[in-house]
Amino acid sequence: MIKATNVTKRYSQKLALDAIDLSIPKGSVYGLLGPNGAGKTSFIRIMNQITAPDEGQVYFGDRALQPRDIARIGYLPEERGLYKKMKVGEQVLYLARLKGLSTAEAKLRAKKWFERLEMADFWEKKVEDLSKGMAQKVQFVTTVLHEPELLIFDEPFTGFDPINTNLIKREILRLSEEGATVIFSTHRMESVEEICDHIGLINNGQVMVEGPLLDIRKRYQNGTYSFVVKEAVEHWGDGTLIQESKHHTGHSYTLKFECYPGTVVSELAAKGTLVAFEEVLPSVQDIFIEIVENGAKLVPHE
C-alpha cells in the first residue's frame, strides 16, 4: 500500500529521517513505533503530503504519491482539535468536503456514523459545548468519514479516555476487516500486540526493524521457555530460572536456555509431570527497549 524508499528529511539542525525504507502491506494494521522524536511524525507528515521529503520517494499503491491521494487517506494527527465555535454537524461536513465528498454523501455517511457511535444528538451542538470524550468521537468520525483506503493514527490513544480508547480500537479493527490499511503510530507498546500485525520500529531517523509482528518476535526469541509441571522441579540443567509460581494445578517456571532444552523436555515428559511447554516470545515492549537502549540494530538470535 505504502512503500518508502530512501526517504530523507532534514530540518535545520537535525536529520529527522535518514534514508529510510519502509513498506506497509495492503490491508495490514501497521504499528509505526519509536520513541519520541524518532521521526514517526515526520514520516507521517510526508505520507500526508504536509511536507515533502528532501530525498527519496513514497509510493502509494504501485505509483508515486500524488496530491489527489489525500482524498484516499484519513489522518488523525497527534495534535488534534476542532473549530470550537462551529457546530459539530457543519464541521464534519466541512472536513469531509475538503476531502472531496459531496455534501449529500457526507451527510448520509455522517448520520450513519453518529448513530453507530451514539452521538446523534451532537449534530447541532457547538464543539465548545462538548465534553472532551465527545469531541474525541467527533474527531474520529471526521478522520474516517470519507472511507479512506489508508488510515493514519498518530498516538491515537493519548488523551482518549478508557471507554473511547476501547471504542476506537474496536472501530479501527472493524475498518481493517473491511479492507482499510491502518497505520498506527505510538511510543506506547501496550496496545500494539493486540492490534498490529506488522510493525516498523524507528529510532533516530532510522528503521531498526520491520516486518510481520510474529516474525519479529520470533527473530528476537532469546531462549526463554515456560513450563507447567505437576510437581516442583529442582534441577533445570543449564537453564537460568527467571520466574516461578505455584498454583492449584501445579507449578509454572520460566527459564532461559542457551539452546533448545530438548533433553529437559523429554525427561519431564517421561516422568509424566509435564503439563505444558511453550516458547516465550519477547513482547514488543522488550524488543523496543532492547533496540532503543542499545541504540543499534541487534543481530537477532538465529
Binding site: S12, R45, N48, Q49, I50, P67, I70, I73, Y75, P77, E79, R80, G81, L82, Y83, K84, K85, M86, Y94, L95, R97, L98, K99, G100, L101, S102, T142
Partner: protein, 436 residues
C-alpha cells in the same frame, strides 16, 4: 470535485457573517463613527450654565462692559476694595469667578496685559477664559491705537475680509470647475483614515483566524486535506469577502438614509436650494448650493473605485504579512511585539497625512503613494485632488506586484509556522523559515 479554496472561503465568510456581532458592528459601526464626529461638536456648541463674574477693574479698562448671555460681569468699586478683600468677597458671595485687572504705574498696557488674574470657585471653562481674553484684548487694542493717534473706528472700517473663489481651469471644452480645496482635504483625510482602519481591522482578523486554527490544533487536520497555501489564501479571501459584504451594506444603508432624508424629512430645503440657482447664491460665500457645486468638482467614481482597489490591495498585502505572523506565534498575547514593526509604515502614512494634504503633488506625497506599504493610505488622501492618471496606475501596479511577492514570502513562513509549537519565535527564526 470540490474546490478547496472555495470551501475555505465559504467557511471563513459564513462563520463570520452569521455571528451576531457582525450584524451589530455593521449597523452600529457607522453610527458610532458618526457619533464620534458629531458629538464633540454638539458638546462644544452646547450653552454653558450662566456664570456671574465679579470684576475688580483697578485700571478702569473694561468697565462698564456687561458681558454676554452666559457671562455676566459686575464690578467692585476699586476705591473700597483691594485684591485681598475681593477674593474674600468672592468666597462669601454667590459669584462664580473674580477677574482682577491691576493698574500699573503710568497705566502701562503691557503691564496690565501681563498681570490680569482670574480666580474661579471651580476651574474656569476654556470658553469663559476665551471670552474674557477677547474683551480685554479688544479694549487694550483700542487703547493702544488711541495712544498712537489712530482712530479705532477707522481701523474697524478698513478691516476687509477677502474670500477668493478659485477654479480649476477646464481643458478644451470642459467647463471651469470651482475648486473645493477644503472639501477635498476633508474627503482625502476621511478616506485615508477609513482605509487605515479597514486594512488594520481585517488584517488583524486574518491573524486571529490563523492563531485560532493553530491554538485549536485543527490546522494539521486541515492541511492534510488542502495545501497550506490554499488554507492561507482561502482565509484571506474569505475575510476579504466579509469586508466587501460589510462595505456593501454600508453603502446601501447610507444610500437609503440619504434617500429618506432628502425625500421625506427635508424635501422643501432641497427644493429651495435648487431654486436659488448659482446667481442667487452669489452673495453668500457658502450655501448648500455652493457645496453641491463643489461636490461636482470631485471625481467620485474615481475615489470610490480607488477606495475599493486600495482597500483590497492594502488588505491583501498586510493580511499576508499578518497571516505569516499569526502562524509564527502560539498565543495572541505574543503578537504585539511582531505587529508593531509591521504596522509602522501604515502609521507613518497616517502621520504624514497632513503634509500630503498640504502639497498633494509634492515629492513626499508622490513617493508615499508609490511605496506599496503606504500607498493605500497616502494615495487615497491624494486622490480627491486629481492627480495624473499614470501615477495612479503605477502605484496600483506596484501594489499588485508587491502583494504577489508578499504572498509568496508569507506562505513560506506560514507553511513552517503553523506546525511549530512552543517555540519563542524571533525575526531571525522567521528568516530561516523563508529559506526552508
Amino acid at each position: 470535485m470540490n474546490n478547496p479554496i472555495l470551501l475555505i472561503i465559504q467557511r471563513e465568510f459564513l462563520s463570520r457573517v452569521r455571528k451576531r456581532t457582525f450584524l451589530l458592528v455593521t449597523i452600529l459601526g457607522p453610527l458610532v463613527f458618526a457619533a464620534l464626529l458629531i458629538v464633540p461638536g454638539i458638546l462644544a456648541s452646547m450653552p454653558e450654565e450662566d456664570k456671574n463674574v465679579i470684576v475688580l477693574d483697578e485700571a478702569a479698562l473694561i468697565v462698564p462692559e456687561k458681558g454676554k448671555n452666559e457671562y455676566q460681569l459686575e464690578y467692585l468699586d476699586p476705591r473700597e476694595n483691594d485684591l485681598g478683600s475681593a477674593k474674600k468677597f468672592l468666597v462669601e458671595s454667590s459669584y462664580d469667578a473674580l477677574l482682577y485687572i491691576p493698574t500699573g504705574e503710568n497705566w502701562d498696557p503691557d503691564f496690565i496685559k501681563n498681570n490680569i488674574l482670574l480666580f474661579g470657585k471651580e476651574d474656569p471653562s476654556i470658553n469663559m477664559v476665551q471670552f474674557l481674553d477677547g474683551v480685554v484684548e479688544d479694549r487694550l487694542n483700542k487703547e493702544k491705537l488711541l495712544r498712537n493717534g489712530v482712530d479705532p473706528e477707522v481701523v474697524a472700517q478698513s478691516t476687509t475680509q477677502v474670500s477668493i473663489r478659485s477654479y480649476t481651469i477646464g481643458k478644451d471644452d470642459e467647463e471651469d470647475q470651482q475648486s473645493a480645496t477644503g472639501l477635498k482635504m476633508g474627503l482625502g483625510y476621511l478616506a485615508g483614515v477609513l482605509i487605515y482602519f479597514f486594512i488594520f481591522l481585517y488584517a488583524v482578523m486574518v491573524m486571529r483566524g490563523v492563531i485560532e486554527e493553530k491554538s485549536n490544533r485543527i490546522v494539521e487536520v486541515i492541511i492534510s486535506s488542502v495545501r497550506p497555501f490554499q488554507l492561507m489564501m482561502g482565509k484571506i479571501l474569505g475575510i476579504g469577502a466579509v469586508g466587501v459584504a460589510q462595505f456593501i451594506i454600508w453603502v446601501v444603508l447610507s444610500g437609503g438614509v440619504y434617500f429618506v432624508v432628502t425625500n421625506f424629512l427635508f424635501p422643501e430645503m432641497i427644493a429651495t436650494q435648487a431654486a436659488a440657482g448659482p446667481e442667487g447664491s452669489g452673495l453668500n460665500p457658502v450655501t448648500g448650493f455652493e457645496i453641491y457645486d463643489q461636490l461636482r468638482a470631485i471625481n467620485f467614481p474615481l475615489i470610490l473605485s480607488g477606495f475599493v482597489f486600495y482597500f483590497f490591495g492594502g488588505y491583501f498585502l498586510y493580511s499576508a504579512m499578518f497571516a505569516a505572523l499569526g502562524s509564527a506565534i502560539d498565543q495572541e498575547a505574543d503578537s504585539q511585539q511582531f505587529m508593531m514593526p509591521v504596522t509602522v509604515p501604515m502609521i507613518i502614512a497616517l502621520v504624514t497625512a497632513a503634509n500630503v494634504i498640504q502639497d498633494p503633488n509634492g515629492d513626499l506625497a508622490f513617493w508615499m503613494s508609490m511605496i506599496p506599504f503606504t500607498s493605500p493610505i497616502s494615495m487615497m488622501i491624494r486622490l480627491p485632488f486629481g492627480i495624473p492618471i499614470w501615477e495612479v496606475i503605477l502605484s496600483g501596479a506596484i501594489l499588485i506586484v508587491t502583494f504577489f511577492a508578499m504572498v509568496a514570502l508569507a506562505s513560506k513562513i506560514y507553511r513552517v509556522g503553523i506546525l511549530m509549537y512552543g517555540k519563542k519565535v524571533t525575526w531571525k527564526e522567521l528568516y530561516k523559515w523563508l529559506k526552508h
